[in-house]
Symmetry: C2
Subunit: 345 residues, 2 copies
Amino acid sequence: YTIAALPGDGIGPEIMESGLTLLETIGKKFQHEFNVTVYPFGGAGIDETGDPLPPQTIKGCSEADAILLAAIGGPKWEKAEKTPEDGLLQLRKTLGLFSNIRPIAVSDSIAHLSPLKTERVKGTDFIVVRELTGGLYFGQPKHWNDEEATDTLFYKKSEIDRIVRQAFDIAMTRSKKLTSVDKANVLASSKLWRKTVNEIATEYPEVTVDHLYVDAASMKIIQNPTAFDVIVTENMFGDILSDEASVITGSLGMLPSGSHAVSGPSLYEPIHGSAPDIAGKNSANPMSMILSVAMMLRQSFQLHEEADALEKAASEVMDAGFLTADLGGTTTTTAFTEQVKAILE
Amino acid sequence: YTIAALPGDGIGPEIMESGLTLLETIGKKFQHEFNVTVYPFGGAGIDETGDPLPPQTIKGCSEADAILLAAIGGPKWEKAEKTPEDGLLQLRKTLGLFSNIRPIAVSDSIAHLSPLKTERVKGTDFIVVRELTGGLYFGQPKHWNDEEATDTLFYKKSEIDRIVRQAFDIAMTRSKKLTSVDKANVLASSKLWRKTVNEIATEYPEVTVDHLYVDAASMKIIQNPTAFDVIVTENMFGDILSDEASVITGSLGMLPSGSHAVSGPSLYEPIHGSAPDIAGKNSANPMSMILSVAMMLRQSFQLHEEADALEKAASEVMDAGFLTADLGGTTTTTAFTEQVKAILE
Ligand SMILES: CC(C)[C@H](C(=O)O)[C@@H](O)C(=O)O
Ligand SMILES: CC(C)[C@H](C(=O)O)[C@@H](O)C(=O)O
């Protein structure tokens, strides 16, 4: 298994180290060889090569079986000609990572951490499927000057089709309930989106489909999060709603995500950012990185037993009271990692 | 005072009746003459004239001193060639209502109604200033067919300038703290937006400005709502974030909003929709309509004492335990209105 690792910026290198340490432990325990190569990316890419996505990084990622990304960005590179974020968007586009999958789950034991009232959020368990290579992020024309600015929200039907099918397929493995989010009362692109969803729905008669306007969805995520099973939406709405959804778990530091292409490697990453304020302090919560590694093991390599073992060990460490600062504890990143490692060994 | 009243659809006519009844009571008590004319609009406009915004409605609104709108839309008109929502967008554009102002406040006595944990939401008091006549809603080209779809997010600097100035002016009357929300790491329009905010900021040295990406803003509204004072953002982001913000109050049925032009009448309306499911049942909460009337009295007519009297009477009725179904009570729309009327008289 060849893996490209992109530690990136801020707390990125610290949590990547945690993830890779445990990947190695899993490899030893289950006798797999994981060939990990680290590449410069994001701010680190700019510092090292002047480019947030250097050619060797693109090459290494394209040829890998899977990609692990920690986190990128920070004030240092905000004014760069090509920012770390530009590098991320280019990586998504180059690898065709059109489908971003984020599980949002609130188990009873963590419901008290949520900013939402505990009874309201308990039992929340849904997946946000976000289109990742189209829409406002990439549409042309896209330019600005001192007088005016233009972005373009463009979708081909085929782009909508493939992400919506993916969402239906996921819904089939779960409660068979799909919520499509758009703004069809205002946007032309949403009208095509809604029509496409309704067409594909006829091929999945077992799946119950409903449509929500994005403003209504932003309310329902707070008011009634347990009502969702699978949410599918376009790139910009997905950016906003998946971040909104992630905070209702009260544990931003514990959520992984996966991005997938039609063919080629998938990319796994924590949903949180690079947290420059706590970088280098050995205090970041490595859970979302660890869970991203588990997601990779399961989804890219079909190593289910290995993924289960890693997730189970990590949650045992948390249950034993080893909590990082974001959860009100004092455990360091490395100490947490060592605990998980010890259980695995 | 000439007022154009647009009852619209669903629960619209019921809550409009409540608002107009109390406006009349205020008129008698304080000896003002309010000349109210009711116009067809939205689904009601389609049913009556085939047009959600008939010419007489545009004319009546343009010539009025202020406009009261209740709510529009419903499944009945979803497939109409021109929908109720199209009528609303056209009304905003025709009257140049570029600035939508929504106060979001959570007093200690209603904090328990919030879906957020009470301690977290208590003391929330901010204003969302949303640009209302630009961006993705109106940009050209905007079209779709069976193969592809395009919407355009277009802003002239002057459009950004005037809404941002309005937000700074509001911030000056409050805690002098302005949060500008954009997606400047991805969107060209957000880069111009951010630059414009930073330029105008130099003219308001007393105001502390910060910038948040829209995904981060959607998180912070839940995690730390008391940190906001004034939020300013473009049309689409404002649609999503102001609806998200409104639910954290736990009392959607109690929030008014005002939309303003450079010159000409302002429009006041509840932030909630037409709620077709409870229409005609005399069970809708008229509070947001009543508070919209109070907002009109204060902002368009400078009738502060009158606005205070109306708000005070309405909140006394609530404190006395007269609650509509949305707040867990059994008081009807008309009974609630009669109670407020009795106190005013
Ligand atoms: C960093 C940024 C460009 C990115 C996005 O908007 O897609 C991030 O917010 C995300 O959700 O992965
Ligand atoms: C009805 C719809 C077009 C409208 C909007 O998106 O502006 C509504 O959601 C609002 O916020 O006033």
